[in-house]
């Protein structure tokens, strides 16, 4: 969104003082509300599928997080605005209390949107007081939880963008979220090349001496041995994906994992989510309405199964998360098309920027979350946070695949090379794309791709 003020604050340097935390807290809270400015009251209420939450639920839930994990434990005599919110806006912390059933979130007209904003501001005030007068014996615990709450709210900022898009897409009127989003430049597709990595015994995950914030699932750092591999210099584009579609990709069972093949046939999928064909041309629904598909931009809103089938078709594979992280750590450049860029959609990279084999790959960060070939499982020696916060990540470690790198709806300050996102392999409503990898042993993708190598 082209706002005068930068929408997303930088969180790169973690605050070291209470004032610093207060400012960071205020910043992240403000961003969430700015994201909702274009919404009508009615938009806040809808739950378009079980995975989606109504926007007002997000607004309340991130607020509940601060109330449940900071105000109640650390503010003596804190009085909730409404006790029932503890039940309504607990997302899934089973050990905290039995949460309101997720698929029924869209049945709640009350609290109203105005009520939810009142709740936010009530909690904001109490949080400001707490942060200005934190009891010194708890200052470390408070800083840690505020930090977690801020990153948690950033996650929901991305979910808000995903969910709003999904909600509006259900509507045959094709409503536009905002006309003030930035318009992507028209660019020629960049050629795809391969960057070779030697592999070896490498350290994966957040270094133990790192002071920076990271989620529990990025720890502990541990060693992994990687064989030599090659990684594509950019994600797969819409143009390439259209070729896959045109050449029968969705009709050939040999390309698909068994679960994926049954899924696409049951659902009738023949293109990414939000794509609509009009004669010869493909359009897709975006937060600025129905637009022609930009062939040079990374393909987006595909499931793991589709990414995996494309890779098989192209003679490659998806990278493992360790391969991806190894390449990303060495990239050293975390810039990218994040939510802060104001597009809220993936954008084509500038062509020709990879000039020699030593250059790092492009678009590792931002644009699209990249499906990896790794199932989401704990790192060796993983341990969860204690208490209810222990439910944050660990309990989702089955049935999901890892994605890396952040996307056009992720706050820039939110991601790291070690950041592990995860979704079920069937999910498509995230801004999810992918990048190819292959063995470095001379195994080559089909001609169309090797021709385009730098």
């Amino acid at each position: 969104m082209s706002h005068a003020e930068p929408l997303y604050p930088a969180l790169a340097d973690e605050p070291t003082s209470p004032e610093g935390w207060l400012e960071a807290f205020r910043d992240v809270r403000a961003v969430t509300e700015q994201l909702c400015i274009p919404l009508e009251t009615e938009d806040y209420v809808i739950q378009s599928m079980d995975d989606v939450s109504p926007p007002k639920w997000h607004l309340a839930h991130v607020t509940w997080f601060f109330e449940a994990f900071l105000l109640k434990p650390f503010v003596k005599g804190y009085v909730s605005q409404n006790d029932s919110y503890d039940y309504l806006f607990n997302s899934y912390y089973e050990t905290h209390s039995s949460p309101f059933p997720r698929p029924r979130r869209g049945l709640l007209s009350r609290p109203t949107v105005a009520d939810v904003y009142r709740y936010r501001h009530y909690v904001d005030e109490a949080m400001e007081l707490l942060l200005c007068n934190a009891p010194s014996e708890h200052s470390r615990a408070i800083a840690e939880r505020v930090c977690l709450g801020i990153h948690h709210e950033q996650q929901h900022q991305e979910l808000l963008a995903m969910d709003i898009k999904h909600i509006l897409a259900q509507n045959p009127l094709r409503p536009i979220y905002s006309k003030r989003l930035k318009v992507p430049p028209t660019r020629r597709p960049a050629p795809m090349g391969w960057r070779t990595y030697e592999g070896g015994l490498l350290t994966i995950g957040l270094e133990p001496d790192s002071e920076a914030f990271a989620f529990d699932n990025e720890r502990p750092a541990h060693r992994q041995y990687l064989e030599p591999f090659e990684l594509a210099t950019r994600p797969v584009t819409n143009q390439e994906y259209i070729r896959f579609m045109e050449q029968g990709g969705y009709q050939d069972p040999a390309l698909w994992l068994s679960d994926g093949w049954h899924l696409i046939r049951e659902k009738g999928w023949t293109a990414p989510l939000y794509w609509v064909r009009d004669g010869e041309r493909w359009y897709h629904f975006t937060l600025t309405g129905l637009l022609p598909v930009d062939t040079a931009a990374p393909v987006c809103h595909v499931s793991f199964y589709e990414a995996d089938a494309f890779a098989r078709w192209a003679g490659g594979r998806l990278p493992t998360e360790a391969e991806w992280e190894h390449a990303a750590v060495n990239t050293r450049d975390l810039n990218g098309n994040f939510a802060d860029s104001g597009y809220l959609q993936p954008v084509a990279t500038e062509a020709g920027t990879v000039r020699n084999p030593q250059d790092p790959p492009l678009q590792m960060f931002g644009d699209v979350w990249e499906w990896t070939g790794s199932a989401y499982r704990p790192y060796p020696g993983f341990r969860t946070l204690s208490g209810s916060l222990g439910e944050y990540n660990g309990k989702f470690m089955s049935g999901q695949m890892v994605l890396r790198g952040g996307c056009c709806a992720t706050p820039a300050s939110h991601v790291r090379p070690t950041y592990r996102n995860f979704f079920p392999p069937s999910a498509r409503w995230a801004f999810s794309g992918f990048r190819l990898a292959r063995e470095a042993t001379g195994e080559h993708c089909r001609d169309s791709f090797s021709q385009s190598a730098v």
Copy 2:
């Protein structure tokens, strides 16, 4: 609702002039909007189950009816405010156009509530113009369709009350629709007696020479032969129903139709819809919040299966719709607790008012729709309206049971002794109760009931 102005206009005398139609049109349109005054914007959006429609959908759909069946056919050059509304707000007229899928009505945040009101007023203005300047060659057709549209909107006024109640009931906050509804008086339960009818060859359905409005399904009048029968002098009360529950009514398969038995076990039903037990006491959710069950009031929100099981338990049966109509036609008093009374819930009758066997039964009209033992099927010689309007009633004539008499949410001017309402036997969200019948041949209900006979 205790409004200064009477909320529901009298429609008893059908207008004979364009001005009369205009006034009737304005009145019914105003009532619908008055019903929605207590709602928050968010309440308008929710669809709490497939059978329920979001309130804003009702507001728009009844408007669409006037647009589709009057403005478009009879106003030359009429321009819709939004062409897509024809698709969104067509309820089920398959021959008109393929309707928007019913279970997805709750996924539409747009048009907004404000948009819908704008749509209403746009159509209202066009309708006023049409009614003031009706082309004389179509004046009869227009009057007929306006009349149908008015009764159609009244049906949706009742649906609005039912649906709003169901929507608010999902919410653990137990929101109150309106605190301005009238509070029912506290009354002693009236004793139940039996009124005997001799039967014979009777005319059922609307007399052919009747000028009054009636739906197609009430026609044609035809003869039916009835054996002598007895009809209870009032509907079954909450007190009686609680006795059924306490004596194991929901646990004894011998009392239930097979479909009903499987349904209550699958759903875990052990009480009417909206009932909540708190220790020894039963409460139920109403449009004024959670209230103690009034034992003297008619039981409400029961399915046909529950009504049928209770009747079997009590040694009686449900009346057929012909029996009910025969008794009602002779009642001659259509007064009752309708929406106009301002309670929007059933109310106990005044005790002791049935003094001798010749007195007509009480509460035949209003309070609760009364399940009959008759499946909803066409009368001999039934024919539908022509064109899309032919889909109004006829196509629902399978899988449903007839209910009679109107309820506390029905506009008083909307019902007649011949009026046939219908719901699937499993439905409970209508204000549905029942009254017992029995053979006149000396067959008697269990003691508890015969003792209470007058």
Copy 3:
């Protein structure tokens, strides 16, 4: 089946002596087993949908009926062969004991087919002893229950034919039940005419002084008033039904009940059950394999919804069950293509046999069960049998439509003009067809049909 001995014994004259009952018992038991002679052991085990029972279940269940309702109550010291059979082979008598879940009947490999036959013969022996030595104080009760058990077993003989057909039809190998069934003659389609009835106040149901066996649901006789009506002289044929299909019958929502329209779209129905198109030609699966559809034969394996839609398309309607019964009672000729004929499929009637308007309609009995327009509800004054036998019919009186006349798989001695069969409106695996009716007031079917009038 062209057996030397007549397969189905005559039961028309109800036995008056113990010896008579014994012979009737033996006869019906033998027929059931003869029906199963062509089966492979494996065929006995399959449950092809929830409504179907494995053949060995039928064999055991009808046996259990005699054991539970005769041997256990009336034979002192009777010892069951296997106590668990009481649980496994109780069909739905909830008040007897909780029955084994119907949809799981196909998961039972044991008792084996041989075990089931042993069970049959064990019970047969005990029954023979009981019938030869019936305690005189119970002789009336025993005769009544044997009689019910015999008619019950006849019902399952028809179900066996229906279920075996459905089971074999699932198999892509298209197995043939028996090659020894009789081959229907090739006949020209009979023209369809109309027979007029004057109506009036008529008696429906079994006369109270009738000594003959009838189910509880045929009682009591009661008066109904019928308007004049006309009834088609024969059922609708395959040829006529194909015309309905070719002229878009399955594509026009105006012809269908709402439930029916949604059903055919959800299921993708575009023809009767078991029909398969091969180029220009229609084939259907029969108990003698895949055969070309005989255009002159009555259409079969259609749901109520399809019958109803056809009738609307043809400008007629389905008869009510009272109309059908009135016509049937006057027919006085119960001959027809029943199971005893040995076809086990509907057969075209001989053309030209209706010569004048006073002649009774053809094919009222046998060939196909005829869907009526009447929902299956109790007659006025209906009462069930006492005890568990009271669950025989009454508890199914919701959600079903009445069919009349018997079919090609019904034992001839099993039906009567008053016989009420019933199925859900969506059911198609019964041998169900239909016959048109219309008002006698000059209302006429579309040309194609009135042309064919006699």
Copy 4:
């Protein structure tokens, strides 16, 4: 089964001559049929859930494998016994032809069991001819495919045992598969200790120069770095699992993966599959009927979720498949309770056999498949077989977890230390148990377990 002749032939040394292959082929074919000797014809037909196949389907499918992949490609003029079998008995090779839908396998009464045996013998004869006269230019290909077919049939031998158990378990009669199975000895529970492994950079997967048969998913050998870890000296026993149940394991959400918690609540699981409580005592259904649970034997028929929750409760975790394989490779002793032992159920190990920390862990092979913490994904550099055989393993590499070591129903000659079995995390009908692991860094399980350490 205590047969005079050893039931399961040794396949350890792969044949080097055509005669050797012929003998191996004959042996494996004979075993499959011996497994079915105790079955009644009816048992062969049942499909008790979608995952289960009717035994006759297994018998035919493994036969189809030889026909489709050997006889048709390599025997000139080979004529199938029945062309439709190619459709019916293709399991899932989508690229071969569209397979008959898996959930409908239980609807096929034909081909009969006798037909299936005829099919087997027809194919056996053709295979014998082929193996005796293999064209020399294809001898390598034929040997490879016969070898694959033999191992494929062994997999189905295990599936037969699993499926027969599941089929019989549905039946309230609790039928016994065979009374000739060996009775497990009564043993005191062995104490559980920990064996420490130093980890390091290790080779996982089948060595590239290995001549032995292995599935594609075990290749290629590759390096993995393992941190030091400890592995339990035996699997978790029923006694330990009962303690978990008694101490509220199934009631505490903090112990469970989110998917698992929702699953156990939806299904109502509170014990392993086949367990039945009778007062204070636990029983379980086995292939020899309902037996008391042997507390000293390994727990079996638990899902991955249950294994994972137990491990969290016990303060440990599941081993990764690499950890397991590393320990197993060093065990060097592949003996164990396999199908050949004749128990077809897990058996307690002999107590006290682990005497010092250098001893290898017990029961790594046989008894129960051990759930690992590793998702089933391809090894680096994995490639599938070409053609339809490429669908053998690779396409199942999502949504499943790896199990290792074989079980009491696996032919002894079928497993290897590198063997990767896989099931969805919710599956319980396999003979699946688990063994604990933990970090070697001083992390310790709860007292109850460390006390029992050697």
